[in-house]
């Protein structure tokens, strides 16, 4: 989801705090990754929310390799429908990924389309040995066969009219579930591949 999800017009909608302790959820995610214990891994966050999570995981896990970040705008499958995101950020993979173990991080796993785009981008840099996926929130609504290896928190009860949104106010992460207007539901799901 990341960048586009936050651009959906939600001016008239209500927002609910989910009461999830984000830092503790990230800690749990870090423990799962540590238990998996990959050899010399590289953490890569997906802009924007995934990068925030990956930065915290990097701090907890103390990996030596620098953090990578991906902006998947150029690989999205809805370019011909919605165009290029106006604020594309540069993807940065500071080390060669050839034959390396990658842990891809995003904030919310929803349709799976963001992850597909991210994997296409990763493979345009080289052939990693392994790619694992870690997400803060896993919700139902997959449109392609993609699943997470490490999950901070599962939210199966959300229907299509709800959008999960991660915000970062001066370093404090906040998670909200927003109700989007009924007539916008279909469009927003397309616009936000999750």
């Amino acid at each position: 989801m990341s960048s586009t999800d936050t651009s959906t017009d939600t001016s008239t909608d209500t927002s609910t705090d989910m009461g999830i302790d984000i830092e503790q959820t990230i800690q749990g995610l870090a423990e799962q990754i540590a238990a998996h214990n990959p050899a010399n891994p590289i953490l890569i966050g997906i802009h924007t929310g995934g990068v925030w999570i990956a930065q915290r995981l990097q701090r907890i896990l103390g990996y030596s390799e620098p953090l990578g970040s991906l902006d998947i705008s150029f690989y999205r499958d809805d370019f011909s429908r919605v165009g290029l995101h106006p604020e594309v950020k540069s993807s940065e993979l500071p080390v060669a990924i050839e034959d390396r173990n990658i842990i891809l991080i995003d904030d919310v796993l929803y349709t799976g389309r963001t992850i597909r785009a991210a994997m296409n981008e990763i493979f345009s840099y080289g052939r990693p040995n392994q790619v694992k996926l870690g997400v803060l929130i896993e919700r139902s609504g997959r449109e392609i066969p993609i699943q997470a290896d490490f999950v901070g928190c599962a939210m199966d009860q959300l229907d299509e009219s709800r959008q999960v949104k991660l915000t970062n106010e001066n370093g404090k992460l906040e998670l909200n579930v927003i109700k989007i207007g009924a007539n916008k539901t279909a469009a927003s799901k397309t616009g936000a591949p999750g």
């Binding site: 902006d71 705008s73 150029f74 690989y75 370019f79 011909s80 429908r81 919605v82 165009g83 290029l84 106006p86 604020e87 594309v88 950020k89 540069s90 993807s91 296409n120 345009s124 840099y125 080289g126």
Partner: protein, 329 residues
Amino acid sequence: MIPSDSSIQFDENGNLKHFLTINGLPRETLINILDSAESFITFGKREIKKVPLLRGKTLVNLFFEPSTRTLTTFEIAGKRLSADVINLSASRMSTSKGETILDTVRTLEAMHTDLFVVRDTASGAAHLIASHLPDHVRVINAGDGRHAHPTQAMLDMFTIRQSKQEFSNLTVAIIGDVLHSRVARSQIHALNILGVKAVRVIGPKTLIPTEIESMGVTTTSDMVDGLDDVDVVIMLRIQRERMDGQLIPSEQEYFNRYGLTEDKLKFAKEDAIVMHPGPINRGLEIASNVADGSRSVILNQVTNGIAVRMAIMAKIMGARESTMNEKQS
């Protein structure tokens, strides 16, 4: 036909659908293109220099006039966006057998071309083509007569921003054959829209069109005056092929008065950059040691041309389906 109306560039929702002239574009559109070019610039350094944005789309480069860098960078830009790219030059086209340009374009459109990049000797050619194509086909102007060369102007703006960051404090000098230069006209529009402090046009009176001051620039025939305190020096090519009368005295005399040399460059700011859209006439409008010198960004302009053209193609080709399929959904 010299088109003055740029509204044909926009769809009914105000989105940019063709890229024909800088004139009339909002500042935010220019900034948006420069910003997305910034992210395309990193692709040249990747193992696989392609992104799938235009996969399955057909791009025809339709060049009725010779070109090396514009044609090549459009071809590379299209291929890096994964489009299928076809280059057609004047000698290979049926127009040399008498077919009109519109018939040529309609023929190629019947082969399901999605995007035309057009260069022609006639001012307004790209506008003419854009106004005769179906709604979903896009057109980019790659230079039409003396009128406009908007993608060149955008890559020049990108190159300026790379060195100078902000536009608002800049004084820019455009020097030489402004009379024949579509590049200069597009640059002046872009510099004005981006809000530079001042644009000066320098050259012999025979090569400075009288109406140019109405574009909000000052003119002078004196290089010393003109270069004083300048941040960006843009040299223009003497377009001998377009000169039918005696517009310059002799090449040697032109070089002595207006050719950019190390000595003349001293009148500009110490950190002034030197630009030229190419191809350059060494020893006519610019001395070799200046063209190859440390302040020259001429080759950066070429490199930047790829990313900027990718950004422009992505800008006009994105969200195209929504206009194509609106009635169905």
